[in-house]
Amino acid sequence: MTNTLHRYSEHYAVERLPNPEPVRDDFIVFAMATKGINDDKLVEKYRDFLRLALKHNPINIGDATKGGMLRPRQDLNPKSHWKRDQQPDPEQVIAGVEGHTTVAAVFDNYQDMKAFVDDVRNANLGISVNISAPIEEGDRCCHDTGITRHSVEYSLGFCGRVDKLPDGTVLELTTMCGHGMLSANFTKKMIDWVKENRRTPEEAARYMARFCSCGVFNIARAERILSEARVMNR
């Protein structure tokens, strides 16, 4: 599905803004094989893709069937309320790839994404690779790496009962999990907790990342949005 397509920013505000702020810290590159066409040595190809990503400082990597670098745990004990392991675990993502899925890497800057795309092109894995980002940046990356883009898909935003949607700050955070696993109410709670200094933006972003079941949640962008929300009535 279109799980990274409709990531909200001011460009998609219901009331169009004259100068929306560009999104400079959210770039996703993902790979997907097609059954019977390029799914031979599938696990190896996906793991190579993710290992290449690790060379370029990804904020998150993910497997659509298992999750990202931060996942919920089934075996916590009461100590976790005081000392919880918040360390991302990229190796569990790579080791967990078992078959058909979509694998993704999230970056917080253009240069890292471009360097990764360059590596992926040279690796010649034979699986379909897409950039999900501002269209201009995707085009620019193709130009910078000598790639002729094959197809494009535009997000045109939301219509219908938009009065049911939460505010822009909440949408910026929740739509980073395109499958909708991160609820608006939990996101509002995290914003409030950051404002109340009950949790840091880093901690709150990690709670939210665990709900994203495919690993495309951008923890760095979430930290920025939460930090801004703490001091502004966004």
Partner: protein, 269 residues
């Protein structure tokens, strides 16, 4: 999904976690309960929350003591302390809720995880959307509102009247009882899902009237609709669709770019 009343300690952690807001504390029993009509079986509460396996009697005693002294308990917000959330075996037609809401369940009709197809993500090897064509992804209920098939059918019927081509491998198409008229199987019309994607294809020349019609129809449904449109680029990477969308005043800031790195590698007999 249900919550085991013997294990639940009414901590309330699962309430905000539910994307549909379907969980509440029932004051008559002081336990969390799920409004099953609103629950879309996305498994977010069950799978997204971490779990402790504490003794419910012990946890209730601690909570009551803290409550008596008006202590503010500040627990981790994404933990179910007693593992009280229990999945139920789903039968038809309720099972479609999970198929369209839980991304970790592959859809029977497509064999892939998620609510739609691979769209243009694999267009470099499938050539599904050709040059001069536009592929539409019309997603009902996203972000975070949910949708019932009755609303979706209202739109698919109107789109069928326009003569559009529904993507045959799409999960919603697979649930149509009459594809030429956009009818969806009547027994699922009241089922609610987190989101469902209708995929259609037209020529680039028809993009403007089809988008206009979809926008009109979206005002008649009780949910939000997310819109995406794709096309295959020309041999030099040029893109006529972007020009059309900008001319018509649609926001085109974000999107996906298929890099064309896919190729046939599987040996065929």
């Amino acid at each position: 999904m249900k919550i085991d009343p013997h294990k639940c300690v009414a901590c309330g952690n699962c309430l905000p976690v539910c994307p549909m807001g379907a969980i509440y504390i029932d004051p008559s029993v002081n336990r969390a309960r799920i409004n099953s009509d609103e629950c879309v079986e996305c498994f977010t509460c069950y799978r997204g929350m971490s779990k402790e396996h504490l003794n419910p009697v012990f946890v209730r005693a601690v909570r009551k003591t803290a409550q008596f002294f008006r202590f503010r308990f500040d627990p981790e917000p994404d933990i179910c302390p007693t593992d009280a959330i229990v999945p139920e075996e789903l039968t038809w037609p309720r099972v479609v809720r999970r198929a369209f809401s839980d991304p970790q369940v592959p859809h029977e009709s497509t064999g892939i995880h998620g609510r739609g197809t691979a769209e243009v993500k694999t267009n470099d090897v499938t050539d599904r959307v050709k040059e001069g064509e536009a592929g539409f992804v019309v997603e009902f209920g996203r972000p975070g509102i949910g949708a019932r098939f009755r609303d979706i059918e209202r739109v698919t019927k109107a789109l069928a009247d326009l003569g559009v081509e529904f993507e045959k491998n799409n999960p919603v198409t697979s649930l149509m009882s009459d594809r030429s008229r956009g009818f969806i199987r009547p027994e699922i019309l009241d089922e609610k899902v987190l989101s469902a994607i209708v995929e259609i294809k037209t020529s680039l020349e028809d993009v403007t009237p089809v988008l206009k019609r979809i926008k009109e129809l979206s005002r008649e449904v009780a949910t939000v609709v997310s819109l995406g449109v794709s096309t295959r680029c020309g041999s030099a990477g040029e893109d006529r669709l972007g020009e059309i969308l900008e001319r018509e005043g649609y926001p085109t800031y974000r999107g996906k770019t298929n890099l064309g790195l896919g190729r046939i590698t599987t040996k065929r007999d």
